[in-house]
Structure formats: C-alpha cells, structure tokens
Symmetry: C2
Subunit: 331 residues, 2 copies
Amino acid sequence: MVIESGMNNAIEEQLLNSAQLIGLDWGSTGLRAFLMGAEGNVLATRASQSGASSLQATASYPSILQQFIGDWFHSGDKKLPILACGMVGSKHGWLDVPYVECPANADALAQRFGAIESVHIVPGLIFNPSNPTVPPDLMRGEETQLVGALQLRPELVEQSCFILPGTHSKWAQIKHGQCLSFATHMTGELYSVLRQHSVLGRLFPSTPSETNHRAENDAFNLGVRAARDDAHLGLNHQLFAVRSLGVTEKMSGAELANYLSGLLIGHEVKAGLNWRRLAGLAQAPLVLIGEPDLCRRYENALAIFDIHNALVLANTAPAGLWNLAKAAKLV
Amino acid sequence: MVIESGMNNAIEEQLLNSAQLIGLDWGSTGLRAFLMGAEGNVLATRASQSGASSLQATASYPSILQQFIGDWFHSGDKKLPILACGMVGSKHGWLDVPYVECPANADALAQRFGAIESVHIVPGLIFNPSNPTVPPDLMRGEETQLVGALQLRPELVEQSCFILPGTHSKWAQIKHGQCLSFATHMTGELYSVLRQHSVLGRLFPSTPSETNHRAENDAFNLGVRAARDDAHLGLNHQLFAVRSLGVTEKMSGAELANYLSGLLIGHEVKAGLNWRRLAGLAQAPLVLIGEPDLCRRYENALAIFDIHNALVLANTAPAGLWNLAKAAKLV
C-alpha cells in the first residue's frame, strides 16, 4: 500500500478534532481518502493502490479501510461518517448499489445511498436512451465529480457540458442541475490495450528515451487532425496508419505513440462535439475534469476543433462527496 | 511443427515427378506450402505454425524450410523453383522486399521479386493516397490472393471490389487488372485484444459452453445494426455497450462476444461500403476471400446493409503464386 501523504500525529489529532466526514474515492485501480472539516474543506488526503479490481473478496474491504484510515475513524468521542463513491459500489466491488436513472441530481443520488458496515456508498448513474434498441450507458464515480463541479461553479448548474477524460471517458449533459444524459468513450482503455498488446505497440519505445517533445506534440496533433478530417473510413481503419507510418519510417516510436493518442482522443472529441451539438449544448460552457496532463491533451485536441474556451477543473470528487453527504444529512 | 497432411512416400514420388513449383504462403502466424503441377494444379499441401513472427533470426528460415519441405526440393534431377508471399518478405521476416506502389498488376509484382537462397519472394503493395497528409496503407500476402482471384475469375479483371477479412482486413479496388487502391481495417486484431485484454472480455465465457447459436447470431446482428444505425457517436463509444449490456444482464457472455464481433465487422462494412461508393465501384462485383466461417459473418453483415450478391472465394493464394511464377518465368 502506498501512502502519498503521511502526517505528523500531533497535527493529525488537531485536524481530527475539526473533522466532520471521511470521503473515499474508491475506483477500480486506486483508493483516495479525504478527511474533511466544516464546509467540506480537505484537512488531509491519503492515496493507495488498493483499487476495487485488486480486491478479490468483499471481506478484504473492511481490513483495507482499517489499515488505511483506521486512525481517522473517530474525532474525539464521535465516530466520523464515511461516504464512498466509485467502483466500490459495483457488482464486482464491496456492495452492489443499484444505478440511479438519468435525469438525476444530487438529491436523487443522496436518497439512494447503499450502506455496508459503517460506510455509505454513492450509487452510479445509468442513462437509458429513449430509443430502446440503443444500449444503456453507465458511470460510477464520475457522478460525484459532477456534483462537486456544480457545487464549486454555480454558473454551470443551469446548462453545461462536461468531459471527464480517462480509461472510460464520459461526456455529460447538465441542465437545471440534473445530469440528463451521458456517453462513454473507451479512449484510455483502447490506448492501453493497443499499446501493450497489439502490433501497433511493438513499434513504440519500451522506455521513454531521447524524447523530442516538439516532434511528439506534432505527432499528437497530426493524429487529432487525421481524426477530424476523416470523411468515412473511421477509427478501425485509421489505427492501421500507426503501423504504416512506422514501417515506412515516417515517424519514430515515441511519435507513433503520440499519433495513436491523438487519433483516439481526436475521434472521441469529434464524436463528443457532435453529441454536444445534437443535445443543444453548443453554446453551453464546456468543462474538463481530470488529471492536468490528460486535460492538457484534450485542450490541445479541442483547439484543433476550434474550441479554445474549455474550463479545466482539477479533482472535484471531495466537493462532490461533501455535498452528497450534506444532501443525505450525514453531516 | 504441425503437419496437416502427410503423404504416402510412394504417391509423393509420383507427384514429385509432375511438380513444377513450390508455393509458400508464409504469413505472421503460419506457413502453408503448395506443391504445384502443370497449369498450377495443387498436388499436395502442408501447413505449419512456423509463422514469420515466431522466428527470431533470419538464420532459422532455411532450416525450417528444409525440415518442412526438404523432400520436395527436387523433382527427378531438377530443382523446383520456390516462390513465397506474405510477411516472410517484411522487415521482420527473412528478407525485406520493398513494397510495390499502387496501381500495380501481376506483372509489376513479378518484376520486383526478392530472392534469398533459392527462394523468390513476392513484394507487398503500398498505397500512397493522392493527399500527402493521409498516411500510406500496406499489404503483404493479400496481393497474391488478388492475383489468384483475377486469374480464376476473369470477369473480375475489368472492375471489382475485394474484401479480405482477417486480423487486418483489406478492401481492394481493382480496375483493368490493376489494384488501384486499398484500405486496411484492424477488425480482427481489435476483436482479439479487446477479448483477451480489456474490461469487455472479462464478461465473455472462457470456454464455449451451452451455446445458443440462435441467440448468438441475433447478438451478432444487433451489433452490426448498431454500427449501421450509429449517427455520430462512433466505435469508441459503441464498444462500451458490450460492458453495459453485460452489467445490466441484457446479454449472456457468449452473446456479448458476438455483439462485439458484430459491432467491429459492422463498422468495417459501413466504412468499406462508403469507400467503395466513393471509388465508383457501387455497381462492380463485390468479392470475399477468406476462411469460410469468417466470410459467412461478413455475408451476414453485408445482408444487413442490403447487399446479398457478394461472391465468396476460398484460398486463392496457390493460383496467385502460380500466376506470379509464370509472369516471372519461374515456370
């Protein structure tokens, strides 16, 4: 278990006295804990790699928590409430908390928390398209980030379009504080499996060496432009260019990796912007939430589609957990 | 090494006396040898799993050949010519034989054979789009199948559109006996990496059990239709439905695998038919070459796009090798 930020015990006791909530962002590949005070300010943060997909048995969840934040459980003689979001609430997590259907706002989520031992769990969201032949879409964890973003930026409540890049990127449509619909793109996972397991990744460098940031950035942009300008051949065809550009020695391995990233993000952004337009959100604020490096790639890609005014927010999960805990009267 | 069809030595000696050529279809994952008589009739066939990607050193090629078909090398006191096609001629094969540029016909290929030890190797094809910002496309092995198909079916020489499904499916445009252009789709490889290494494959059955062929066929068709009817969200988004349909228990694992196959083939066929139309080949014969089971999937997918008259050809590589050997005066 990796502890990112340990704390001096003396300070921690002081902090604990003002703590009101323990928030957990417990995804497939990691666990983040936030000790929160009045108004939801984050007093301390810890991170571990004990993601839900690394835990085989539900029995291991309580012991992981005890080991990870057992010293946070009590503030004075008061037991702190614990609220978790993410894949911890899935069928393959600790407790299967049923999805809440779109449209939904923070109150709808807060009314449907799951609870196991002393931990409350935020449900995920399901979007069932009006056309019953179109499959549903799912999120777990991102709904909490959306709640946090709307809390932190009230101007986004009326109408906004969110992009949450990642393994399974989400594009979400907000109207009157409700998430009306959303769409997943498997961008991050496609990049990862193609890099590690396909003929394309064989041409990439195994370790980053002698990087040429300018050339790599150019290659990323070329990939985005290829996706933007593709009239009809599609991603399935364009991916093969990563091989042909390598075999014909038009790009280095590091450039090819960036070209692939550009192609995948470019196709996501192209599809997402069409979806946004059809949802009537072309004039609504566009907001990115995620890791700064990844958000920068998306900003670069959006610029190639002539969009230069996206708002970038860092992790809004703590604000979301706080706000949901308040809506459920846990704090 | 797996030998598919061994032969009685006595028969083999008779056959050898009438043999004129040894043809090799030496791809990434397998090697097939054809002993051919006058007019290119196949006297004997052998198959092994010693594909080019399993051979680390170029030094291993001659010994593999000796072991595999050493008894075929001589017909009476005459040494038989050997002609190979496929990844054996690539940078990571036995000898890097430069690609021939489209448009190209059998004669153009025959003039540019590589040669190493006593083996001649057919070059692959490269297509450089007229727009220099669009990456080139590549094939190795399929050019020989195209030559064979045009030899076997003269009515296809004037104008035709070929689909060669596989790991890297090729769509090729033929006019006046020349391959004018082609486009690769990574359909087979995407299916394989997503099945084995992504979150999607985790829901599939590890061994086929209690299969319900009707339900699986329906799931395949649903995937093709979803691809056909997708207005703007694209493959990257639609792939996630394989997960959402599994998590919400709308499909069994075996159905999900077929839905994924339908989505990928559906997107290929949709893009390929657009490409065919823009190439002015909408009225030209459409021809499938490949494994019968895979061709059947493509026929089913084409039917969903209202195309019912595709011609299906089995392996045309032997006819291609024979015809190229003739064009190069090896026979």
